[in-house]
Amino acid sequence: MRLRRVILAVVVAGVLVAVGGLAWAWRPAIAPTSANQTISDRKTIDRGAELAAIGNCSDCHTRDAGVPYAGGRALPTPFGTIYASNLTPDLATGIGSWSEEAFRRAMHEGVDREGRQLYPAFPYDHFTKATDEDIHALYSFLMSIPAIRNVIPANQLSFPFSFRPIIAGWKVLFLSQASLENDTSKSAAWNRGRYLVEGLGHCGSCHTPRNALGGEKKGSLYAGGAAEGWNAPPLTASPFTTHHWTIDQLAEYLSTGWHKLHGAAAGPMADVAKNLGQASKDDVNAIATYIASLTQPDNKTAVITDNFAKNQPANVVAIYTGACAKCHNDRNDVGPSKALSLSLSTAVQQGDPANTVRVILHGIQSYRTGGGPYMPAFDAILTDAQIADITQYIRSRYTNQPQWADIKTEIIKARQEAQP
């Protein structure tokens, strides 16, 4: 099976290089600029900062506890590890020698200043939709931040993925540069939202499933994908959502990381929410307008499920009561941790326990400065067996869905991911 996959990968790669080579592989270098580009238009720089927040740029381009935008974060992919580049205007190790033309080409075509193909971990399949005006603002912002010298480690990819020209073939299949046509039957906010969601926001990078070659399945737009081990839930109609998200609910959730009927943005989505908190209200409302339009409004209201009477082992109930129920108290009062009834949690409704297990292990720590939702990490408080029991208990008490299989495997996986 493994061998067949490798052979398939090599054959596919070969064909892609052959086809893609013609159209994409060769791109000339763009002459380096010798001095940093200084752009002093404060309004443009501020706009660029907002767009960078919507694009979530700093999440990938910042190492843990590192300087924002100085790069070096390891991004695990199915094909190996890619290190995010340094976006500060350092001449030697950042993008200080990049002209705006070179930056625009990277965003639109996925090619660096020297003409090398960039891996699509950098989501230029979305950024290609960004207007020249927005790219100018982003470029102005990046050139305005302090230059940090930070040498980025070489990528660790296996052959054939280590051979950059094959990316040209990937682009033939998965990079569509067609710009978005205005849909006059929809509101301005919807059109703006679609532009941000499809473009800089690159929501589909996580929320659309990917095929074996790492391309987004265009037939399953926003049907749910994966992000760093977490499930990125479907944004389209979904059995996991107990009730429809309205535009206002989405806007509040996206800009604060929390909504009282839907819960907290945890895992990688917490970073997105923190960034969208920096974006303009109009843009967040536009994003919410577009995303809300992906599902049909229903008249369902949030219903609290509580199958408390079910037979459960006494020790699991005791652990749930002492460890979880102080915050998840099923009353209307969410308390300082902003904990909801778990029957409202999307994570608990999902088909597999990936998100529930990860929230229990790692907690929700992202909003400690600023007063958002909080949950302590239980990785050292409870044992793996206890976490597995609690996970299953929550599932059967707070949903009417079938029990989860393989919770223990998921816990082991989540613990391994968390190793530095």
Binding site: A65, A314, N315, V317, A318, I319, T321, G322, A323, K326, C327, G335, P336, S337, R368, Y374, M375, P376, A380, I381, L382, T383, Q386
Partner: protein
């Protein structure tokens, strides 16, 4: 329900409801007042103890979940009845203002020094992040941890 615990190297039986948080048992039934009740929600760290050497919020650890894991409290760090090196460093640096968080701070810092005997400032800051101090004695706490690390 009678539950047997291993606290600071000794076995102890307690008779409590199994959902009772370890913190309450330590303070009310065992008489160890090192760990403090701050928020009761695992937010502040004043209740930090070690469970098998790892710093843990005891206010959200139900007694039923402790099992036969080793519990160490602030009192368990004493050596021959005297403050250990880290505890003495906190005293010498006058790291306490109101002092409410300090027991938890010492417990977390001790766990750090056990795995990283000579941590950098950044490593200390990152590791100590779960524990909060409202008085703002962070710089004195930093000095105390570094003093114990070098000493």
């Amino acid at each position: 329900m009678t539950i047997s615990l291993k606290i600071n190297g000794k076995s102890q039986d307690v008779d409590v409801d199994p959902s009772t948080p370890l913190l309450y048992v330590l303070r009310n039934d065992v008489g160890l007042h090192g760990p403090r009740f701050g928020c009761g929600l695992g937010q502040c760290g004043a209740c930090t103890v070690h469970i098998d050497g790892r710093p843990t919020f005891s206010c959200i650890l139900p007694i039923a979940a402790v099992g036969n894991r080793e519990i160490t409290t602030l009192e368990g760090l004493l050596e021959d009845g005297k403050p250990n090196k880290l505890q003495q460093a906190f005293i010498d640096e006058e790291a306490a203002q109101c002092g409410y968080c300090i027991s938890g701070m010492v417990m977390r810092a001790q766990a750090l020094l056990r795995t990283k005997p000579n941590p950098t400032d950044n490593e200390i800051r990152n590791y100590m992040r779960p524990n909060l101090c409202r008085c703002g004695t962070h710089t004195a706490i930093m000095r105390a941890i570094k003093r114990a690390a070098i000493a």
